[in-house]
Subunit: 118 residues, 2 copies
DNA sequence: CTGACATATTCACATATGTAGATGTTTTAG
DNA sequence: CTAAAACATCTACATATGTGAATATGTCAG
């Protein structure tokens, strides 16, 4: 069992992830490294914003950088993080369609999860 | 593939979870429902604080309540959420032991995860 | 060198989140 | 009915997080 310190670490970890644009960054990096400009184009947000978000992710060692000339390529430190995150998306599933009761969304998510239980 | 809205939903979801005490609440509820007083005793924090945290979790339909007399019992809407969260803990693993470089923690976490790939 | 490109950082400000303590509501015991 | 238990909510305040705009840093082309 884990206690306070682990809960704090986990909170910091999730806190670094829980931002729409940072989630999209993680998604974009799912298949491999990308440089900042490419990320900026895909997200369509200011360069400074991308840079700061990458900084937050770096804080928790979620991404790592590799410099090549004037470009900086970022990658997921733990690639499986992306699929872990997508699992979370499955959990909330149909929640995004406002009319549908959330319990149903979680219900279908539960089934999705059953197939990949540890 | 998912886009902006899904990323926002996921961010809200993770945002509701990413707090040390809320993570501990989820952990406590892993094996079944508990009333507020019991949670308060286990977390050793003010009653009002427990109540607000439960409110935040309720916002994202992470917990549901059942009233019985003057007690209110809370449970995880999707029990598998707890194990999903623990998977996240495995990912950051040894990170909590400050001296150890994080990359090593992620490395060992990667192995743990490999066995339960989708 | 110099200018343009790629990225990071700083500043000033706005919004969000968290906390303790007091108060309100509902429910049960007597 | 009344008091106490069990929760929820409100208030006031502090801290954290997010943003755009400007600026700084490093690197390459010519």
């Amino acid at each position: 069992m884990y206690r306070k310190i682990a809960a704090e670490e986990l909170a910091n970890f999730l806190g670094a992830i829980s931002h729409p644009e940072r989630i999209r960054i993680i998604e974009e990096l799912r298949h491999g490294e990308l440089d900042v400009t490419t990320l900026q184009e895909r997200l369509a947000i200011p360069q400074a914003t991308v840079s700061r978000h990458l900084g937050v992710l770096k804080t928790q060692t979620i991404v790592a950088e590799r410099k090549d000339g004037r470009r900086v390529y970022y990658r997921l430190t733990v690639p499986v993080l992306a699929s872990w995150l997508i699992s979370g998306l499955d959990i909330i599933g149909e929640k995004s369609t406002q009319g549908v009761p959330l319990s149903k969304a979680f219900d279908s998510a539960k089934k999705l999860w059953a197939s990949q239980k540890r």
